[in-house]
Symmetry: C2
Subunit: 426 residues, 2 copies
Amino acid sequence: MSLNIPNINLPRVVIIGCGFAGLKLVQKISSKHYQIVLLDRNNYHTFQPLMYQVASSSLEPDSIVYPIRKVFKGKENFHFRITEVDKVNTDLQELETSIGTLKYDILVVATGAITNFFGLKQIEKFGYTMKSLTESLDLRSIILQNFEKALNTSDLNERKRLMNFVIVGGGATGVELAGALAELKTNILPKDYPDLDIRQMQIHVIEATDRTLAGMSCTASKKSEKFLKKLGVNIWLNTVVKDYDGRIAITSAANFETDTLIWSAGVMGHPIGNLDNSLNKNNRIITDQYNKIKDHNNIYAIGDAACVETEMDGRGHVMLASVAGQQGAQLGKNLNAIAKKKEMTPFKYKDRGTMATIGRNRAVVDLPFFKFSGIFAWFVWMFLHLMLLVDFRNRIVVFINWCWSYFNYDKGLRLIIREVKKPEDK
Amino acid sequence: MSLNIPNINLPRVVIIGCGFAGLKLVQKISSKHYQIVLLDRNNYHTFQPLMYQVASSSLEPDSIVYPIRKVFKGKENFHFRITEVDKVNTDLQELETSIGTLKYDILVVATGAITNFFGLKQIEKFGYTMKSLTESLDLRSIILQNFEKALNTSDLNERKRLMNFVIVGGGATGVELAGALAELKTNILPKDYPDLDIRQMQIHVIEATDRTLAGMSCTASKKSEKFLKKLGVNIWLNTVVKDYDGRIAITSAANFETDTLIWSAGVMGHPIGNLDNSLNKNNRIITDQYNKIKDHNNIYAIGDAACVETEMDGRGHVMLASVAGQQGAQLGKNLNAIAKKKEMTPFKYKDRGTMATIGRNRAVVDLPFFKFSGIFAWFVWMFLHLMLLVDFRNRIVVFINWCWSYFNYDKGLRLIIREVKKPEDK
């Protein structure tokens, strides 16, 4: 059975995935020249850079996601479907999806990235991740359930394990989550759990390289370490995690007794199964500078899922929302150019800077010619993230929540909406 | 194993359930005279009167729930635990819970109500309810998933079933949900689903008695019917639902082909298993005017779970948040009176009025000596519900959401956070 999409007299562009790349592409591509079909497994776009705030009870899901149908309300010749894509049949120019087949004239793969466990099966089983909204909500529940359980146990070892948090990976995600957990420890949990000695709560960040925020400048790394240490976070550099059985994490430096290991140590491309003839080492689809994949004239890949082969010795651009957004926008313009029989422009990433926040009043910002940190950086971080949110409603909600938290030394609602079972209990 | 609650030199009051009754009781009871232990299966209090707004995508969960630990932050001699109570051992004055045993000196049962399917097993299996937050979130997902599926099917019968909504029960819940769905149909869905003919969406309210809002005045009933009809809702009075197999609802008036039957036709008390020697016909625990249950001097029951036997020929007070709140507050004062060796005051319900809203700009309000409806009633409804929310933060969030919806003819985010499987797919 084929999908219920009308056949009209325009070439059909099918886009798989509505992350930053897919979103910007659809915004730029012209309905005059193309019929646009967007597929995603969810009915919402997620603002991934703030996901850790959902996991740490700072923001509710509705603050950082936005329904796709609403973003593109009123766009002509645009069709959206919730589905998973199983296979691409390039000979027939057809996709096989969970709700039927779909013909394409031009295909764009914007499927993003998934967690890379580097083959550590035990960590995949017992560790927690926050690559999706549901994973982040589950992590929020697990963190809160731990404290509820810690109240009920008289086994001191178990209590210690429940209050010990090990974050693997000192990149932006790990550092920002560690900062948010440290804020929870300082400002929230002592009031919520007066019966518990919250000083027992430990937060560890384990990083395989010799610095945190390895993607940023050395200044930013040093500052972030200083900020984390001030917040009482333990940083383990040059330390590799080897195994985890749900209770003990074995690393090259020490063993950690913990019920909660959060894996933010790596991501890899998330290509579609049978296009994998042209993947780089990190599972990203190799493309040329026009985002076109090898051996096919009408298939493109953008965002985290793609790798422009001339970049960074074949490793491709850094996997960042800003790269994905720029690629999406550029490809949109290029497809419009094709329709008008004009030349395509090769993709060039404009680095406008990177930043990370570490708890209250502290952030690090790397601009191309200027690096700074501290409270001013924190305000810059907040302002830019507010402006980057898709929608005015999101901006208001997040702004109110942040103001509320700031002046009340308080966080969001800490709701355990659904009890999450640990892997061993399942 | 017993619960980790410190033994201090004060009598221990254990309260099961943090609905309106339990919440008000804890607020009133004095920590000088009692150690207070509150048990609930969730870590949040739910503002049930606005639950239908979660199911109809108008409000996000965080708008209508509030974490229990935060409500009672700083209260002395107060302990909260998330647990289910399995059994009361009255001889030992001990509870058996899912996390251990717990001694009590005084026990208060405030466990609320559950859905009453009147023995219709098929409806229990295939129908949807919204008595809890997770049920309401599931219902929201089901409603949205239906429209996504309707897009994908070319089977006209299936599409009709997916867009046909049958609400059983014309009480406040049924009427308010029908109004909210009708607003979705008019203002939201045509924009979200331009490919679907939304006129095919049908909303039916099936009521066994001869009027909607049977708990309110006849004026309110008539007005609510008029309002619903204006919104295009089909009302079936004097109609009894007999069976439902997930596709066809069989009633005394007609058969309805529908994938979504929402059951809001009845609730009953939710007592604890082995206290059932003193239940009324509707499963509510029979109490005297001081909310004390029969045969036990130190066990009380309040709210929907309880029935003051002298009321309404043994049927007890109406199951309303206002009754529950007043009972909780009164019992709190009475327990404080006991501690001071003073007289207890018998419970008298002060009826301050009831109200219901039916879509935009329309509500019905019954005050003890004055009944009115229309746009002014709607503003009164909104203002009172805002003021009744537990917390200032909730009030701001709900207020902003309502203003946003009002001026933009728009609703909340319509997120399908978790896919809900239909019973037959499970």
